[in-house]
């Protein structure tokens, strides 16, 4: 019974954590633009939280640099179960233009398991909202 309630609230109002692992900022600005009055995800109950311990969904952007690798794993472990990861942008999917650089390990899925990929360089806010909603539909 409590499980059903928890599951309903998670689907109806997911709290997201924004993780930037070495990106050029374009996807991050689009994620924040999704909160602003034009796209307004807060009407769906989606809140941007400050700390991993309060979040349900990690919205990750940027290719993984060597320096960030351990930090990403640490943050992933701090998010309580059940957790979901959305990889936003071409960098988080596979590294975009930085593939093959000496400091890069590739996309986010080289480090943590990913549930949903949102392509684009940068991904439009509409696409990001679409990705989050589709992920919730699968739960």
């Amino acid at each position: 019974m409590l499980n059903k309630l928890a599951r309903w609230s998670r689907i109806k109002s997911p709290w997201i954590l924004h993780l930037n692992s070495g990106a050029c900022n374009a996807c991050d600005i689009e994620i924040i633009a999704a909160l602003t009055p034009r796209f307004d995800v807060e009407r769906f109950g989606i809140l941007l939280k400050a700390t991993p311990r309060h979040a349900d969904v990690i919205v990750a952007s940027g290719p993984v640099t060597r320096q960030m690798r351990d930090r990403i794993i640490r943050i992933y472990e701090q998010v309580p179960d059940p957790k979901f990861v959305i990889a936003v942008g071409a960098c988080a999917m596979s590294g975009c233009v930085y593939r093959g650089a000496y400091n890069m390990l590739g996309g986010i899925d080289q480090v943590i398991p990913v549930n949903m990929y949102v392509p684009g360089c940068p991904a439009r806010p509409d696409a990001i909202i679409d990705g989050v909603v589709k992920l919730l539909g699968k739960l």
Binding site: L19, T36, P52, R71
Partner: protein, 400 residues
């Protein structure tokens, strides 16, 4: 007794990973250590393996907010190396997009500054207005960010009469809304009181530490590459360099607001004088051996690219110095003697574009060497609470 506080690479205040370790005594910061490298992507090494044209797209993605400035700085340099002169119409379109990018970047920054100062409504208003500019840019180039409108020898897309009319309408709307912001200061003494006197950077320090952009211009150091080293069309339009004298975050807000007004003026002049003609000339595949230094005034300061060619179709060396890196020593200076609670505001005031560098703050206690991690959101909450409890600063004056 001092304290060390780290603010980790992931935190909500600034959207990029960077690490600052601060040594604190009580509430006052005594020393700051910046750790870059979370965002180091090896672009300079990658650039040596790609051709001149492929590098335009690589260099553009050094930064998302000022992507056109990196791309334009690079293309200017390569056009010098190849001894090409792009046609006038192409240049006008290129610098029109530059000014639109400056407008969008300053509106973004005003929103971030408002958010850091606790003024969230202002954040929402400016980002709503930013959408007007994003729509114009999408109409001109096809994408909201990373416009990819530059090519070696000119631009890739032309403007027709319908688009020009829409740009003019958009500028009228933006100008009206921006003028509303200029009067906010007079109606919101708490906002002005919050940002006045924070993050002082005297002019001698600006000169010694080689700071750039609005951070330096807010201390009276009037250097703007568009006036000194006028490339292309900037000597044909009339505008002024915005400066302020108060050396603090209020001065930086004032400088950026003035630059917004100047940018609207420049855009209108560029549209009025837009000449007919081609938009690009054909570029050769290989560049003659040589070297070139290309400088550009990005929204955050001076962007400099040094390009060396060895006669093939790939560059021999591409060196990029983005403006935020030049402001780091100045930031360290500003944070010293400041309060912990002001860290998010001071850091936001240099308009950091860390991807051009990463952000967490570690406060290190100088006496005991203890470390504690404080999230930026916690700092912001403390800052806003402290400001509510402090007596209001009545002597801060909004200059408009």
């Amino acid at each position: 007794m001092s304290f060390q506080i780290p603010i980790g690479p992931q935190h909500p205040a600034l959207k990029e990973p960077i690490s600052l370790r601060m040594t604190v005594e009580g509430e006052v910061i005594t020393d700051v250590d910046i750790r870059l490298g979370y965002n180091h992507r090896g672009v300079e090494k990658l650039a040596e393996e790609k051709t001149w044209i492929q590098n335009i797209y690589l260099v553009e993605r050094i930064c998302g907010i000022c992507s056109h400035s990196h791309s334009t700085c690079y293309v200017q340099g390569v056009e010098n190396l190849m001894e090409l002169t792009p046609p006038k119409r192409g240049m006008y379109i290129r610098y029109l997009v530059s000014e639109l990018e400056r407008i969008h970047s300053h509106l973004l920054w005003l929103g971030v500054a408002g958010h850091e100062a606790g003024f969230d409504s202002f954040f929402m208003y400016t980002w709503r207005d930013r959408e007007v500019v994003m729509d114009l840019l999408e109409m001109i180039s096809g994408n909201r960010v990373h416009y990819a409108i530059n090519t070696i020898g000119g631009v890739r897309r032309d403007l027709d009469a319908g688009q020009i009319a829409k740009i003019r309408e958009g500028l009228v709307v933006l100008r009206k809304r921006s003028e509303y912001y200029f009067h906010i200061g007079a109606n919101e003494p708490s906002f002005v009181g919050r940002i006045a006197g924070v993050g002082i950077l005297p002019k001698e320090k600006v000169i010694a530490l080689c700071a750039v952009g609005p951070t330096a211009r807010a201390s009276g150091w009037a250097r703007d590459i568009r006036k000194e080293d006028p490339y292309a069309v900037y000597d044909e339009v009339d505008f002024e360099v915005a400066t302020a004298d108060s050396c603090d975050v209020l001065g930086r807000v004032v400088v950026r607001v003035k630059e917004l007004l100047e940018s609207y003026k420049i855009c209108e002049q560029l549209l009025d004088k837009l000449p007919p003609g081609d938009i690009a000339v054909k570029a050769p595949r290989k560049a003659k051996p040589g070297e070139v230094v290309s400088r550009y005034e990005a929204p955050r300061g001076e962007n400099i690219h040094y390009i060396k060619s060895n006669g093939t179709d790939k560059p021999e060396r591409l060196k990029v110095r983005a403006p935020t890196l030049a402001n780091y020593p100045a930031t360290v200076e500003m944070l010293r003697k400041g309060f912990i609670a002001d860290i998010p505001l001071i850091f936001a005031a240099i308009d950091p574009c860390i991807c051009c560098a990463e952000r967490s703050v570690t406060l290190v206690s100088a006496a005991s060497g203890d470390e504690s991690v404080v999230r930026m959101s916690e700092l912001r909450r403390r800052a806003i609470a402290r400001h509510h409890n402090a007596p209001p600063k009545r002597n801060a004056v909004w200059p408009f």
